[in-house]
């Protein structure tokens, strides 16, 4: 028993150490990531080089530039990029990714206005003007005209990340907080089941990233406000030649409380995770996981490569989709940094979900619930037709007495082999009122030509026919494969027992077909639910959006209305529906269990 405890304590110490070292490092890295390779140590900056490039003849322009650089350096600020323009043309523009500031005509005009309104002396000295509303990045662009030249210089630097960089977690509150959360976690231990532990751990890690990038965002915002007042301040002080110095002095004092606040939040989030980790280790869960990892290493080594691959590609898009589903992410947010957008907690709300779900109306084609019912109907009918036609054909084609079955098989998989883009459009043509083959066939039976795409149920049938045609070969192939695992002796035995064909299908074929078909059906359901091409190409969602599926709706919202957040909320709803379905079928059919277990 004692050995056990010691083991746990050692594990705890190791985990906590790793946690504070790695997680802390990782998180701060994630904040600086964008920046880290842009920043440079100004102490090493070879001003001569810059000078040579800028304007070798005109020393005076560089006196000024040097001054700016030195002041920035003295204040521990990093200059990220510089660019030089002459009066009219952009000559160079270093690393546009970084500048994030876009010079439009509007800005240019404004700048000229300012130039004209002030006397040459101020014009030659320093800050003329700073970014505009169009400034989408988290960077600030300063523009100054260097004395005695017609060169306009851009000095770009940003502070938010640098101020976070030296931030160190203060250990005493950290430990106190950690203990507090540990106690809370312990108290809640009884009520929390294991799955929720993994979930909450994941959530907390996301939360920490969010809160911290939120801090960065807040700092940036405050900084912008402050900077605006500064520009005004600068312009008021007309007689001073070097205006930069007081500005930077102010800068450092203004930022003190902000930094303190940031450290506090940082500490709290770290503590929450720390507390949970202690609990995780002390409650024995960690040990159990480790033990099972070791014990079942063979099994895990078999599945890890595949699972890693899948999660690498799925996890990030999944988090992205989930996060923007709770925002109003739209076109205007496109240019900014994603991390920054996700960091601003103000962006989040349940507005989208509420808006989608609030009005219940089963007859209005533009209502969520109408589309939901239509989608479910579409899925159920499609999948049942796919499976029944597929299995029927497989059973027929599996009969060794059947002549020409090789040819039939090849012909029957053709819908699957030919790119569906063209065949779906051919189907659309086949449903044309006047020139379509379907109405041509109906005419042979004396039926009046039908205008397929003007009524809901006929448009639905047209979509259905196309999708069934596209989808049954797949189920047929799966069923054909599955039938191979059924030994012929079983049928013979069943025939000897005197059972009819139907009985032998029910008693022999069906149970052995099931394990292979169930996964195909579950996946087929999910795919049909999210079927996009057929609706888009055949009926186009018409008439009046009555044959839209949830997924085509989501597509239209995203790419026609540019409401990405709202579309993502649609996707979340679709996901939750399918998740419930998957969970439910898993329970009912025990699909993951074999017949021989």
């Amino acid at each position: 028993m004692k050995r056990h405890k010691i083991q746990r304590m050692i594990a705890l110490a190791v985990v906590l150490m790793l946690f504070y070292l790695l997680v802390g490092k990782l998180l701060s890295n994630s904040l600086h990531q964008q920046n880290i390779h842009y920043t440079q140590d100004l102490a090493e900056t070879d001003i001569q080089t810059i000078e040579a490039v800028y304007n070798p003849q005109q020393e005076s322009s560089f006196a000024n530039l040097q001054a700016v650089l030195k002041i920035l350096l003295a204040n521990n600020q990093d200059i990220n990029t510089m660019a030089v323009v002459n009066e009219r043309n952009f000559v160079a523009h270093s690393d546009v990714n970084m500048i994030g500031e876009r010079i439009t005509k509007e800005i240019f005009d404004r700048q000229r206005e300012i130039e004209q309104n002030y006397d040459p002396q101020i014009q030659n000295s320093n800050f003329i003007w700073k970014g505009s509303e169009n400034d989408k990045g988290s960077y600030t662009l300063y523009r100054g005209i260097f004395a005695g030249t017609n060169m306009i210089g851009f000095v770009v630097y940003d502070i938010q990340y640098q101020t976070l960089m030296p931030m160190k977690a203060n250990k005493i509150p950290l430990i106190l907080f950690t203990m507090l959360f540990f106690v809370i976690a312990l108290l809640l231990d009884k009520y929390i089941k294991r799955l929720s532990v993994y979930l909450s751990l994941g959530l907390f890690i996301i939360l920490v990233v969010l809160i911290n990038s939120n801090i960065a965002y807040q700092l940036e915002n405050n900084h912008k406000l402050w900077m605006q007042s500064q520009v005004q301040y600068q312009l008021d002080l007309q007689n001073q030649t070097s205006l930069l110095l007081p500005a930077l002095d102010l800068l450092t004092t203004e930022w003190q409380p902000l930094i303190r606040g940031a450290i506090k939040t940082w500490n709290i989030t770290l503590s929450i995770i720390g507390g949970l980790l202690i609990w995780f280790v002390l409650s024995g869960l960690f040990e159990k996981m480790l033990a099972s990892l070791i014990r079942y290493r063979l099994a895990y080594s078999y599945i890890t490569p595949a699972m890693l691959g899948v999660f690498l590609l799925v996890f990030f898009p999944f988090v992205y989709g989930f996060l923007i589903g709770f925002t109003n992410y739209g076109l205007n947010d496109f240019g900014g940094s994603l991390l920054e957008y996700f960091g601003n907690l103000k962006n989040y709300s349940f507005g989208n979900l509420i808006d989608i779900l609030k009005t219940i109306n089963f007859t209005d084609p533009h209502n969520f619930y109408y589309t939901l019912v239509h989608t479910i109907l579409w899925t159920v009918i499609n999948v049942s037709l796919h499976v029944s036609i597929g299995v029927m054909l497989a059973l027929i084609l599996n009969n060794p007495q059947l002549k020409g079955r090789t040819i039939f098989r090849v012909l029957l998989i053709l819908p699957w082999a030919i790119p569906s883009y063209i065949t779906a459009l051919i189907w659309r043509g086949m449903f044309h009122k006047q020139f379509g083959a379907v109405n041509g066939l109906l005419e042979l039976f004396g039926i009046e030509p039908i205008s397929w795409f003007t009524q809901v149920h006929t448009a639905f049938l047209a979509n259905l026919a196309t999708n069934v045609w596209l989808g049954f070969p797949f189920m047929m192939i799966i069923a054909l494969g599955a039938l191979q695992s059924i030994p012929r002796e079983l049928y013979e035995a069943s025939a000897i027992d005197g059972s009819s064909r139907w009985q032998s299908f029910w008693n022999v074929t069906f149970p052995l077909l099931k394990p292979a078909m169930v996964p195909a059906i579950i996946l087929g359901t999910i795919w049909t639910f999210n079927q996009f091409n057929v609706i888009y190409l055949v009926s186009g969602g018409g008439p009046d959006g009555a044959t839209e599926l949830l997924i085509t709706d989501a597509y239209k919202i995203a790419f026609e209305q540019y409401r990405y957040g709202y579309a993502a909320a649609y996707c979340i709803v679709i996901f939750l529906l399918l998740f419930t379905y998957g969970f439910w079928t898993n329970r009912i059919t025990k699909a993951s269990e074999g017949v021989y277990e």
Binding site: R409, T423, I426
Partner: protein, 278 residues
């Protein structure tokens, strides 16, 4: 043996089969009609014979378009996808089917979950992943990675379903003979699973063979374009080169049909016959 009853049943079977086959190939014959004559996708007469039979479209595809380059890229991408996804899927499916370990069911469910989030909005995060994290923008390897992982959940589920139907008694006797788990896997399970390996292989192949939007988004030079991009380049905002499109569609379908024919023998041979104790 042959009673009149079973004879009439055979006839009914043939009638059904021929009817279904006719309906199935009718649209395919339209593709043929378009490919062998003319530019229009539709036609006002319903006859399936091209109004003006010629091979111009095929000639155009081979001479005016870099069809061979597209084909080469598609073959590379598809085959690497098939190999890597089959390797990963068979091992994982075997573990899910034969081992008992914590997280087994959750793992299967998790694989299913990955299929549920609609792909509509995924282009941008996937772009970030491929270009900024994996640095594979513009490379065929980026596509291979995406395609094989896309095909994995399905392959694992199907293979596991099939492995489950292979009697465990076969392995037990091998274990008694002293075979290791991995030897059992390679020497007993895999040969027995040829039908479903063929199916999942074909499926992975199709995933890579037909995918358009990601390929068009992630590739940035025409020498790396795959077949689906080449095909869709024939479609513009207001019109399309339907004749060339139909001709290339047929060419695109040929490898799939050939592969299917090659796999057919796995689908008919009834490999497990005789090795079962019920």
């Amino acid at each position: 043996m042959i009673s009149s009853n079973s004879k009439s049943r055979t006839i009914v079977t043939y009638v059904i089969l021929i009817l279904v086959t006719l309906i199935t190939i009718y649209p395919v014959l339209w593709v043929l009609k378009v490919a062998f004559g003319g530019k229009s996708l539709m036609s006002t007469n319903l006859s399936l014979i091209p109004d003006n039979f010629n091979l111009d479209n095929f000639r155009a595809v081979f001479y005016d378009k870099p069809f061979v380059i597209w084909l080469r890229n598609s073959i590379i991408v598809s085959f690497v996808t098939v190999l890597s996804s089959l390797f990963l899927a068979t091992t994982a499916a075997y573990a899910f089917s034969r081992f008992k370990f914590p997280g087994q069911k959750k793992g299967m469910l998790a694989l299913l979950v990955t299929q549920m989030f609609p792909g509509v909005l995924m282009i941008i995060p996937q772009f970030i992943l491929i270009s900024e994290i994996l640095h594979l923008y513009g490379s065929l390897w980026g596509l291979v990675i995406i395609y094989s992982t896309t095909a994995l959940p399905f392959s694992i589920w199907i293979l596991k379903g099939y492995f489950d139907t292979i009697p465990i008694s076969l392995e037990e006797s091998a274990t008694i003979d002293g075979a290791s788990k991995s030897r059992i896997f390679w020497e007993i399970i895999l040969p027995l699973s040829k039908p479903s390996i063929a199916i999942t292989g074909l499926f992975s192949f199709m995933t890579a063979w037909n995918e358009f939007i990601l390929a068009a988004t992630f590739l940035d030079s025409e020498s790396k374009y795959t077949l689906p991009i080449g095909l869709r380049q024939m479609v513009g905002e207001f019109g399309a080169e339907w004749g060339n499109f139909a001709a290339s569609s047929l060419l695109v379908a040929i490898p799939v049909v050939v592969m299917f024919m090659a796999f057919q023998k796995f689908l008919v041979s009834g490999l497990t016959a005789g090795g079962v104790k019920g």
